[in-house]
């Protein structure tokens, strides 16, 4: 079937929901599969909040352990002939459900299970050491301000939390700091972001001003601006911090105009986070179009949770700029795609503000 990505469609089936506590997704295949023929499907599922720290609270000297409950059977509405699940852990587990399991170091293999009926499941528990921080963005708001004078200004506001095991007991400055590795292992010391290659005027700040601990350089190899930020303080388990990252993009790379109709504009922007591998529980994208933009349409490669329209006011705006607010829940790397906003804007409107 090649390697075409198919977006599954969620099916509302209350009986299954009630009976098995499961949600059904439907996948439309691109072509018919004849009887006695085989077809290979690769299904990627992304879960969040599956792992939780155990113990919930640790001191700065302790290592973080996590536990996870899972179903090692292939969970599907169809009978399964053979299935096998391998868990790759960061370290050899402290505890694992031994039934049907073979453990080799950090790899634990369940199965193979043969001839499972539909909706077969069992529960296993794994408890193992994982000292990495669990960064989560509780909320991300991106404001994209389009200027037809050649600049797209983007500002992201992040509410970051480290949802690893919470710190209990003393902070112990003597033992813990940015440069030591043996204490506070689950602390979040820095984050790496990738900004578009043409970004300029990058800033990193929070509600109380500039944060001086960040570095950014333009990397032509990866075609991006690589930015490393350190929060004001290393985030130990359970700690939070907010920050802003802002940058500008030259309009010529992201704002396109239709040749046939020069009043028809297309704004193409990334709909994902600039931080890879970190989930955002809520992601809001605000697109502020110039005053006078009309007939606004938008296209997203994935369904949105909420769309609303408002007006925003900036320098010398009297009518207000048309603003679209897109809300997406649970944003992961999958959302790292491109969305388009299409609108009409007459060239005459552009000189209105400088004239004032």
């Amino acid at each position: 079937m090649g390697n075409k990505d198919i977006v599954p469609v969620r099916i509302q089936d209350n009986s299954v929901q009630a009976q098995y506590n499961a949600t059904i997704y439907k996948v439309d295949l691109t072509h018919y599969v004849e009887s006695n023929q085989e077809e290979q499907l690769i299904i990627t599922e992304t879960y969040f909040n599956r792992m939780s720290a155990l113990p919930k609270k640790i001191t700065i000297f302790e290592d973080q352990n996590v536990e996870i409950y899972d179903n090692p059977h292939f969970f599907s509405p169809y009978p399964t002939e053979k299935s096998q699940t391998t868990y790759k852990l960061a370290s050899s587990p402290i505890f694992y459900t031994e039934e049907d399991a073979t453990a080799k170091g950090g790899n634990i293999e369940y199965g193979p299970y043969r001839n499972d009926g539909a909706f077969t499941r069992s529960k296993i528990r794994l408890h193992f050491e994982n000292t990495r921080p669990f960064p989560v963005f509780k909320n991300v708001t991106r404001v994209i301000e389009v200027s037809h004078w050649g600049n797209i200004a983007i500002e992201d506001f992040y509410k970051l939390a480290n949802e690893g095991a919470e710190l209990t007991g003393e902070y112990n400055k003597v033992d813990f700091n940015k440069y030591t590795q043996h204490t506070g292992k689950n602390s979040l010391k820095n984050l790496k972001a990738k900004l578009p290659y043409n970004s300029w005027g990058v800033y990193y700040k929070d509600e109380v001003g500039n944060i001086s601990t960040s570095r950014a350089f333009r990397d032509s190899a990866s075609n991006s601006v690589d930015m490393t930020i350190e929060p004001r303080f290393a985030l130990l388990g359970g700690w939070k911090s907010n920050f802003y990252i802002g940058y500008n993009l030259p309009a010529k790379y992201t704002l396109f105009v239709e040749k046939a109709d020069p009043t028809n504009y297309y704004l193409r922007q990334n709909s994902g986070l600039i931080f890879k591998g970190i989930m955002a529980e809520e992601f809001t994208i605000k697109v502020i179009l110039p005053e006078g933009a009309t007939e606004i349409n938008y296209q997203f490669p994935f369904p949105l949770n909420e769309v609303s329209e408002e007006k925003s006011f900036s320098y010398f705006d009297f009518e207000g700029r048309p603003t679209f607010v897109f809300k997406i829940k649970n944003v992961v790397d999958y959302h790292d795609q491109t969305f388009t906003v299409n609108y009409k804007f007459s060239q005459n409107s552009i000189i209105r503000e400088p004239l004032m």
Binding site: N172, G209, I211, D317
Partner: protein
């Protein structure tokens, strides 16, 4: 500056003038004409006359721009941020005002400060500054310019500095009627370091706008006195109203003007113009002042206003007598005058004494400190503890005013040489301010415009004198005029010297502005070994940690210095802050810091404290830390709670933190929190572990554990340390006394015998046995009524005592 500008108008004219001078040399050989008579110089002169107003305005505009530009170093070098301590409160209040409007501010009861008392902000604040910036903010938003309120606040003071230089120009102009003196004054005041120290971008404090208001009020008043016009008098009282709304320093105006009137009276020049201007100014000004809730009836009964009342009444009586004079004989008039003056003066004195002794009128602690410089040191440690309330040293005079201290006497000489009402005023203003400025460092600020104006007058007078000399010398070398008899070489040298001094002054002012006064103090900058600039951001790191990782209702105990910053940066509740209106509350915090861990814990518990924040510089050479301020905490604490004694904190006769420090010092909370686990780190390769880089010594108490407090956060360079107050453990402190029966009558909670767990013993909650127990009497009553503190102890450092003493 004006002089040079006008001389170097265009290159073309320069060239012509050279030609002219050649001509004149030839001509003078003939002994007839001189350079000044040449037709070219004549045209130049008349041209200059024609263009002078435009030039003046251009120069004034350039000075104003300079005033703004020289103050934005702080934004360029750091960022657009609010500086220091008090500006954080002003900023927070402005934000509130911009959001909630004037009535919102009036009714704002701020529960985030002075826990558990709170503070009624509307009634305890001079709102002029906040209203000004909020108005700017609103107007700009109406014009569809959505600037950030923070930027309005940051750039307000520089803009007002430009206004101040214009006001100084106008004022000097009124005094001398000489625009060049005005321009010199404007230049001097625009960049005088003393004023810059309080008005750089980000220094968002009352003084930023009120120095303008002060100079402008004086200008208006002088104009009124000059013309006797009602309009100007009303204008002066309006300007005064703005000043009252902006700063407590309005007391200077309301005293200087009456003193001026008295001086004019003594010199025998009192006239109707002065009478009108003062009467109108006094009546309207007093009524306006009462409109500010913070001032209210103080404008009637506080001692600071007494002089104005007295002079007002006196003027009325005097004018009445003068009026009667027309109708009675000379001798009767003399007798009447004597009688009236005698009764009047004695009535005034008696009345004042009566009011003072019965306590109907009061001097604020700060005013008393001004009148008696030793007062604060003796009685009010909290005033004495503030660095800007120290007596001024000569070096800071020179650093902050530079050559103006040299020019001022010349100006004074000029004022006294050809006295006029305006000059008399300037002289009185300057002399009084010199006194106040030498009592308190911060009042250098009020002196700055005075000496700038004086210097402007002095410098322009000197230059004019020398130029006239030169002209005379050029006119005719033979007939020396008797009036200007200084040799012309001397004149040239003098002019060059003055130009040099003025240039040096501008360089100095630039350096002072850029290097000394542009530090936000919440961000520190240093250089690493390679010479790279390094930002030390410990304050914001810790404050932001508080903001993000503590409960929103958490109460933070810290020394009052950091109160405004914590509420501003962290949005958390503090016990005490820089509005030091309640001395006993501050003393309680001081006492907690000076007590042993157990005693401090009790205080902290009573005040619902969740976190204790201390500033510690021993790790990173930051000398403004709490250990260095600690003696003030002890003094202020000891002033209210006598069991805290300053001498207990001295070891071998001096204040120290090493092994020879006293046991009280080594075991007090401040010491224990600051140095907690500090003995495990090395700050210097050559020194032992636990070497304090600020005190240059090895600490004396090592290896201790904290029982009641827990380190919650320490910033990157240890500057801010935050400790959590631990909750009491279960059955905390129950301990078994196996021998004898110990039963403290009131302090013990004795368990009933035969209770299931402990059958054979008597148990008591652990209290410190009476013998050892210190008489720590922190009761809630004390905190709420502050009856431990005398009225005079509650001082005004920008705020005022609002809770009245309860009488029992």
């Amino acid at each position: 500056l004006f002089f040079f500008f006008f001389k170097q108008k265009t290159a073309y004219e320069m060239l012509r003038s050279l030609v002219g001078s050649e001509m004149c040399i030839r001509d003078s050989n003939e002994g007839e004409a001189s350079v000044l008579d040449s037709p070219f110089v004549q045209t130049l002169n008349s041209n200059a006359q024609k263009w002078a107003p435009a030039l003046r305005m251009t120069i004034l505009l350039m000075i104003s721009i300079l005033a703004v530009v020289v103050r934005v170093f702080s934004v360029i070098r750091f960022e657009s941020i609010i500086h220091e301590f008090d500006p954080w409160f002003n900023y927070r209040t402005t934000q509130y005002l911009a959001k909630e409007g004037v009535y919102g501010l009036w009714n704002w009861y701020d529960s985030e400060s002075w826990y558990p008392l709170g503070r009624s902000v509307g009634g305890t604040v001079y709102p002029g500054l906040m209203v000004t910036s909020a108005s700017v903010y609103w107007v700009l938003h109406q014009l569809s310019i959505p600037v950030d309120i923070r930027n309005v606040c940051v750039f307000l003071a520089p803009v007002f500095a430009a206004f101040t230089s214009i006001a100084a120009y106008l004022m000097t102009n009124v005094i001398t009627k000489r625009p060049e003196a005005g321009l010199f004054s404007a230049l001097f005041v625009a960049i005088v370091p003393s004023y810059m120290s309080r008005s750089v971008a980000g220094s968002y404090d009352n003084e930023g706008v009120s120095i303008f208001a002060l100079v402008f009020t004086f200008y208006m008043y002088l104009k009124a006195a000059d013309t006797g016009s009602l309009l100007w008098s009303c204008g002066a009282s309006l300007a005064f109203f703005y000043m009252v709304s902006a700063w407590g320093g309005y007391a200077f105006i309301i005293n200087i003007i009456p003193i001026y009137i008295v001086a004019v009276f003594l010199s025998g020049n009192i006239n109707n113009r002065l009478y009108v201007s003062y009467t109108v100014f006094y009546v309207l000004g007093t009524i306006y002042a009462m409109q500010i809730p913070f001032v209210g009836f103080q404008a009637i009964h506080s001692s600071e206003h007494m002089a104005s009342h007295g002079v007002f009444i006196f003027l009325q009586v005097y004018m009445f007598i003068n009026w009667i004079k027309q109708y009675i004989t000379k001798s009767a008039f003399k007798a009447l005058t004597r009688l009236v003056i005698f009764t009047f003066v004695s009535l005034l004195v008696l009345g004042f004494l009566y009011l003072t002794f019965t306590g109907k009128t009061k001097w604020s602690g700060r005013s008393l400190t001004l009148l008696d410089p030793t007062y604060a040191k003796k009685f009010i440690p909290i005033i004495a503890s503030v660095s800007e309330h120290q007596a001024t040293t000569w070096s800071s005079f020179f650093f902050d005013l530079h050559y103006l201290v040299m020019f001022t006497p010349i100006g004074l000489y000029y004022c006294l040489k050809k006295p006029s009402e305006g000059k008399l005023f300037a002289a009185i203003y300057t002399v009084l301010m010199v006194y106040f400025a030498s009592v308190m460092v911060r009042l250098l600020l009020v002196l700055a415009p005075a000496v700038s104006i004086m210097s402007g007058m002095g410098v322009s007078y000197l230059i004019r004198f020398l130029i006239k000399n030169l002209k005379n010398a050029l006119k005719s070398s033979k007939k020396q005029s008797s009036k200007y008899n200084v040799p012309s070489e001397f004149s040239v040298v003098g002019i060059l010297l003055i130009s040099y001094l003025v240039c040096t002054y501008t360089f100095h002012a630039n350096i002072a502005g850029a290097e000394s006064y542009s530090h936000p103090s919440v961000i520190l900058a240093t250089r690493d070994q390679q010479g790279n600039r390094l930002i030390i951001d410990d304050f914001r790191e810790a404050y932001y940690w508080l903001r993000q990782n503590t409960k929103p209702e958490a109460k933070i105990m810290s020394w009052w210095d950091y109160g405004y910053q914590i509420t501003g940066f962290s949005n958390r509740t503090v016990l005490v802050d820089n509005n030091t209106w309640n001395n006993s509350h501050i003393a309680t915090v001081g006492t907690a810091m000076a007590s042993s861990e157990e005693d401090a814990y009790e205080i902290a518990e009573k005040l619902d404290v969740d976190y204790v924040l201390v500033i510690f510089g021993g790790y990173s050479y930051y000398s403004g830390d709490d250990i260095n301020k600690f003696l003030w905490m002890v003094r202020i604490g000891g002033g209210v709670f006598p069991h805290i004694k300053e001498e207990d904190f001295y070891g071998s006769g001096q204040y120290r933190v090493d092994g020879q420090a006293s046991q009280t010092m080594l075991n007090c909370l401040m010491y224990k929190l600051s140095y907690y686990r500090f003995d495990e780190v090395k700050t210097d390769y050559w020194k032992p572990a636990g070497y304090d880089t600020v005190r240059q010594t090895e600490i004396g108490n090592k290896g201790y554990k904290l029982r009641r407090f827990e380190e919650a956060f320490t910033s990157e360079r240890w500057i801010v340390r935050i400790f959590k107050v631990k909750p009491r453990e279960n059955r905390d402190g129950l301990y078994i006394r196996s021998k004898g029966v110990i039963n403290y009558p009131s302090d013990t909670a004795t368990f009933k015998e035969g209770s299931s767990l402990f059958t054979n013993h008597k148990y008591s909650t652990k209290v410190v046995p009476p013998k050892k127990r210190k008489t720590i009497t922190v009761s809630t009553c004390l905190l709420y009524t502050s009856d431990a503190a005398d009225d005079l102890l509650c001082v005004d450092l920008g705020g005022r005592r609002i809770i009245k003493k309860k009488k029992y």
